[in-house]
């Protein structure tokens, strides 16, 4: 597998007159063509900020970043505005949690897909509309020709998310970013959309980064899972390994505290406390205040992300 995306020591800080938030504090990972990486984390862990950095969607004047994000060798953090808008939607595209707000309410689904196709491929309006219809068919929207003329509010949540996937794939990107795309959907619809994403990922050999807070969802779609906490990756492993033998106390706590079949009557293992405030960069492990295995050296230096075995890295002094 060839390397598609390389993220190295990414730091993202939001600065406003009132406060500073260190949202991402040194994230590094690689993604191969055709691979799906699930990024799992709770609110405020920096998972969405990491994802959005790949398209540089943060407000430029309030965001400070450092590090490197390379897509097939091209540095995204140095890109000029023109190159950036060529990148967005063409080589990298994104699907969001709430398709109702991601679409423009005053244009039809067909117009919005066709606009993207014309911007990136220079096709005529008729050709672009034809492409839009094929795309709606590809994501299995019934009667695609009529649906082209529908406005976003005329579609159900599941249909809108399918249309968003069609839009995202309209210019044959190599990398698809998914930010909690099924969180707002009903259970019976969520599984349909997950299966669709998995199928299209295989068909087009896409690299996919799938951000979610739901372990079950991550397990359904990912080849590898990265767990984020307080702006850092604390563990990264192939999906089977992450489920069978998580090493970081936070990953273990997260898996143990997730309610699933057969836990009835048992006391849930919970992680005490709450995630830290990201106004300051901590001197040691960010999870130390909540960790039941904490040792004195946890708070003096930030543990490094070390390989405990092939493809399994853990950021914890206890990991061996």
């Amino acid at each position: 597998m060839t390397n598609l995306l390389q993220v190295r020591d990414l730091h993202v800080t939001f600065v406003t007159p009132d406060r500073t938030v260190h949202a991402v504090n040194g994230v590094s990972f690689d993604l191969a063509r055709g691979e799906t990486l699930g990024i799992l984390g709770e609110s405020g862990s920096g998972k969405s900020v990491t994802l959005r950095s790949i398209l540089r969607l943060h407000p430029e004047h309030r965001t400070k970043w450092s590090g490197s994000i390379k897509l097939e060798g091209d540095e995204i953090l140095d890109m000029a505005p023109k190159a950036l808008s060529d990148l967005r939607g063409q080589r990298v595209s994104m699907i969001f949690q709430e398709p109702a707000t991601a679409f423009d309410p005053v244009f039809t689904i067909g117009q919005q897909i066709a606009e993207t196709v014309r911007r990136h491929t220079g096709k005529s309006e008729t050709e672009a509309m034809k492409r839009a219809k094929d795309l709606l068919e590809m994501v299995r929207i019934p009667s695609p020709a009529q649906r082209l003329k529908a406005y976003p509010h005329e579609m159900s949540g599941g249909m809108r998310q399918r249309a968003m996937i069609a839009l995202a794939l309209s210019c044959n990107p190599t990398l698809l970013l998914a930010d909690e795309p099924t969180t707002a959907l009903d259970a019976t619809v969520q599984i349909q959309v997950l299966l669709l994403i998995r199928e299209l990922q295989r068909e087009f050999n896409l690299g996919v980064i799938f951000v979610t807070h739901d372990i079950g969802v991550a397990v359904e779609v990912s080849d590898r899972i990265g767990v984020m906490y307080a702006g850092k990756l604390v563990e990264m492993a192939p999906v089977e390994r992450m489920v069978d033998a998580p090493q970081h106390p936070y990953s273990r706590g997260l898996l143990a505290s997730t309610v699933h079949d057969g836990m009835r009557g048992q006391r849930l293992e919970s992680i005490p406390g709450a995630p830290p405030d990201l106004a300051e960069v901590p001197a040691g492990c960010s999870f130390a205040p909540r960790c039941k295995f904490v040792r004195p050296d946890c708070t003096t230096a930030i543990p490094s992300l070390r390989d405990v075995e092939a493809a399994h890295a853990v950021r914890c002094v206890l990991a061996a």
């Binding site: 969520q190 807070h213 309610v259 699933h260 079949d261 919970s270 709450a274």
Partner: protein, 344 residues
């Protein structure tokens, strides 16, 4: 008489704590010529349920199935178009029964959005003391009660009583909401997606706390959620709703172990797998839930049901007991005319 002592049980353990019969709520949709009502959302249709003393009744279903409308009806935040409610033998809002205010002393609710459900201009202590004070508890006793409530939900009174909602995390705010629901010493608490907005590690803390409080204070819960795993964890009985109707109702073991309604089966098998070696390969049902405006005739699930036949469009299946659980499906009723049903 101090009105704020815990309320004594009246009818004994066999009498349901809450019995709702034939509840109906239709919401008019303005539209058409001159803004006249042309359509109605049939949010809840002829729903009958009972909540036994000391149990947790789980309510599951997808968006638009009416589960939150049920919650609001049970505590009378909205008035039903039809139907009656009886709380431990006392009819609610009827000449010889109890008033809606008395109902709300005994039945309290916790909502999903922990921030929106607290007054941002009141401190936590003021919020918690509000209802007890309004019910006539002297200030000194109310202060004592606030301290007690905060300790019960695991928040140190010295540290939290004087804070404002925005100074708390989501999990802490939800603890305050639970404390507020307990302030009048109610018997029944309706939890409407009360843990859905919380992160998993915090959700587990709050679930453990709910289990402890239930035992300690002898509470009864109606637990409404879209999360089937959490409902399974907490509930004794489970009620499955689809487009304003109950499709299946029974003990948690029966509903999860041997679901009878095709919708319950689909809902359960749509849960993401926690095992990467056993991933889902086919979606159990296609499409989205239909709009509750103009629901399908007969069985409301028939448009997505793989077993639908003519009879399903013609007649509405009634909730019928199958021994372990009650199911509203023609396939489970002998002689219904469905090819999969036993002969009468």
């Amino acid at each position: 008489m101090d009105t704020l002592l815990p309320i004594q049980d009246r009818g004994g353990p066999a009498q349901p704590l809450l019995l709702a019969t034939g509840l109906r709520k239709h919401f008019p949709v303005a539209g058409g010529l001159l803004g006249r009502t042309t359509k109605v959302v049939r949010a809840v249709d002829d729903l009958t349920l009972s909540v036994a003393k000391g149990e947790t009744l789980g309510v599951v279903g997808e968006s638009g199935c009416g589960k939150s409308t049920v919650a609001r009806l049970l505590i009378r935040l909205i008035k039903p178009d039809k139907g009656t409610m009886v709380l431990d033998g006392d009819p609610v809002d009827e000449p010889h029964g109890i008033t809606v205010n008395e109902l709300r002393r005994q039945v309290q609710m916790v909502f999903q959005d922990s921030y929106a459900s607290l007054n941002p201009r009141l401190t936590i202590a003021e919020t918690l003391a509000f209802a007890p004070r309004a019910h006539g508890l002297p200030a000194a006793e109310a202060r004592e009660r606030v301290r007690d409530l905060l300790s019960k939900v695991g928040l140190d009174p010295a540290n939290y009583a004087t804070r404002y909602p925005h100074e708390l995390s989501g999990g802490q705010r939800q603890r305050v909401n639970i404390a507020r629901a307990l302030a009048l010493r109610p018997r029944l608490i309706i939890l409407d997606e009360a843990v859905s907005a919380l992160d998993k590690s915090v959700e587990a803390q709050v679930l453990n706390m709910l289990v402890d409080l239930k035992t300690e204070l002898d509470l009864t819960y109606v637990f409404i959620s879209h999360d089937l795993n959490v409902v399974q964890y907490l509930s004794d009985r489970v009620l499955v709703m689809y487009l304003g109707k109950i499709v299946e109702l029974g003990p948690v073991e029966a509903i999860y172990g041997n679901p009878q309604h095709p919708y319950t089966r689909a809902l359960l098998s749509a849960r993401p797998s926690m095992d990467p070696r056993k991933r889902t390969h086919e979606a159990p049902i296609q499409g989205d839930p239909p709009n509750p405006i103009d629901p399908p005739s007969g069985c409301r699930f028939r448009t997505r049901c793989p077993f639908a036949e003519d009879v399903c469009a013609r007649t509405e299946p009634l909730l019928a007991d199958t021994g372990h659980q009650a199911v509203a499906c023609h396939m489970r009723v002998a002689g219904s005319g469905h090819s999969k049903a036993r002969a009468a």
